[in-house]
Amino acid sequence: MATAAAHRTAGTRAHDAHDAHDRPDAVHDTAAYEQAFDAAVAADERIEPRDWMPDAYRATLVRQIAQHAHSEIVGMQPEANWITRAPSLRRKAILMAKVQDEAGHGLYLYSAAETLGVGRDELLDKLHSGRQKYSSIFNYPTLTWADVGAIGWLVDGAAITNQVPLCRCSYGPYARAMVRICKEESFHQRQGYELLLALSRGTPEQHAMAQDAVDRWWWPSLMMFGPPDDASQHSAQSMAWKIKRHSNDELRQRFVDICVPQAASLGLTLPDPDLKWNEERGHHDFGPIDWTEFWDVLKGNGPCNEQRLAQRRRAHEEGAWVRRAAAAHAAKHARGTTGPARTTGETGATRA
């Protein structure tokens, strides 16, 4: 952050506040830090890793960025499910590149989370033990090739609607990661749309496949914006901190308004009989979301929760000997070599 007051706080850590009772001026300092932080947020300045920040702000960001990272890597699964069956070499290349991008997004986001003082291993452990979540959308199965297109169009579309405002998020490293991620996501979204368009204009069987996929992914995509505003526990604070810029319902409405004309140009329908333009509001009205299903999936009872987590755990456990080997090799060769490149087990893998 750039304000003079905020700069004076640079280099301090949140846990300094714990010593408050030992130092007569500490309480006053913390209040000053808080004031500087609030002023920086109010002035739309970026908070950077070395700046003082409230413990709760740090914790919220760790939770949100980690779960975002987890969503990228769990989200590889439903699409990777079709890599080996992609129906043309061009589509196969596009899908492989997309899944690779998702792994890359996971890497950016874990790095952003690490600037807040947590480690990737610790976060992965929380994912694998179910203590941190990932987006509930990835607990739905990809049953046909058209699902790959529906994920691109609807799921990536919803993600972009959610994430573009995050490019202006108050925490600098997260905002910057989102700028890169959003560029790639909008590319994926267009590819998904184009995939569905090819199916929609193809044979009757292909058209039916596309419609079926949209029917299955529409409602879960709307759920990606989170619970309705009156049931969203983190929203108010996140908006005050400018981590979030718009409410869940606002973004959901924006997404519906974007999708309706796109569905029409795709030649596909959206599975909602209540969907219609409301002249007065200047928005589309749409039917009620099945929040019971949403909470069920969130609690672990969706169609693929078990499978997704099991595959993540298995990949991690079966890869343990590989990571140990890399660490052992690096340790053996650390002595006598120049430069920091061989000092940790992860650097070799990072280089690769």
Partner: protein, 246 residues
């Protein structure tokens, strides 16, 4: 859809284009099976990256021989011309790395030779040899880490190198239409691979370099059992919708 096709008459090129194209196509497919299963996130990126490079090569090569999708999706097992090495199942990470080491060292030598010549494959080889240099480096670095890592990784890497050794002789059977010094490449390959294995504290396998089939079987459409199942998965959707475009 078709990738960029170099301007060249196809009929005379077909056997060689199919051999090289099928190698790249099949290995790319195997690497694609790793997506979401890699031991570390960086390897998700690396393996997908290599798979994409190979798929790109395959598309150009198959397009030199005809329609890439018809060739990939509508030929049966007996018509594929890839070496048996690339169709071997992934196994554990060491097995995948050993396959990559053997194949990328071979492919690098071959593409370097083709790039240096003025034959019809020179333009493709000139671009691909840069990609393959990266693949070879990746495989070499992991061979060193696994071979000279822990006791467990050493043993797994040795086992993988031994198991795949029998598929390496076929790499140097002359391919119709490719003008190359096959014996010279084989000697260079043995030296390169031997050097990596020794630096990785591994023993260079001593077993035969071809199985019960005559070496060159894959190039004649004689494959191993797992290959048919791989093709069944790869071709199923395309074959279920004859004539459709995607």
């Amino acid at each position: 859809m078709t990738a960029d096709v170099p301007d060249a008459p196809t009929a005379a090129l077909t056997p060689a284009a199919l051999a090289l194209g099928d190698d790249a196509l099949v290995l790319s497919h195997r690497l694609g099976e790793w997506a979401g299963h890699a031991p570390v996130l960086e390897e998700e990126v690396a393996l997908a990256n290599i798979a994409l490079d190979l798929l790109g090569q395959a598309r150009i090569l198959l397009s030199m021989a005809g329609d890439e999708d018809e060739l990939a999706y509508l030929r049966e097992e007996r018509a594929f011309r890839n070496v048996q090495l690339v169709e071997q199942p992934n196994g554990d990470f060491a097995h995948t790395i050993a396959r990559q080491l053997y194949f990328s060292a071979y492919q690098h030598l071959l593409y370097a030779a083709l790039a240096a010549g003025d034959g019809p494959f020179a333009p493709l080889a000139a671009k691909a040899v840069k990609e393959v240099a990266y693949h070879r480096d990746h495989a070499e670095q992991w061979t060193l880490r696994l071979g000279d890592g822990t006791d467990v990784s050493h043993e797994r890497m040795q086992r993988a190198c031994d198991a795949l050794w029998r598929y390496t002789g076929e790499l140097f059977q002359p391919v119709q239409g490719l003008d190359a010094d096959w014996a010279g490449m084989e000697a260079a390959w043995l030296e390169t691979v031997g050097d990596v294995l020794r630096r990785a504290t591994l023993t260079v396998p001593e077993g035969p370099r071809s199985g019960a089939w005559t070496a060159g079987a894959g190039r004649q459409g004689l494959h191993t059992e797992p290959f048919g199942r791989m093709l069944a998965e790869m071709q199923h959707l395309h074959r279920s919708h004859p004539g459709a475009s995607w």
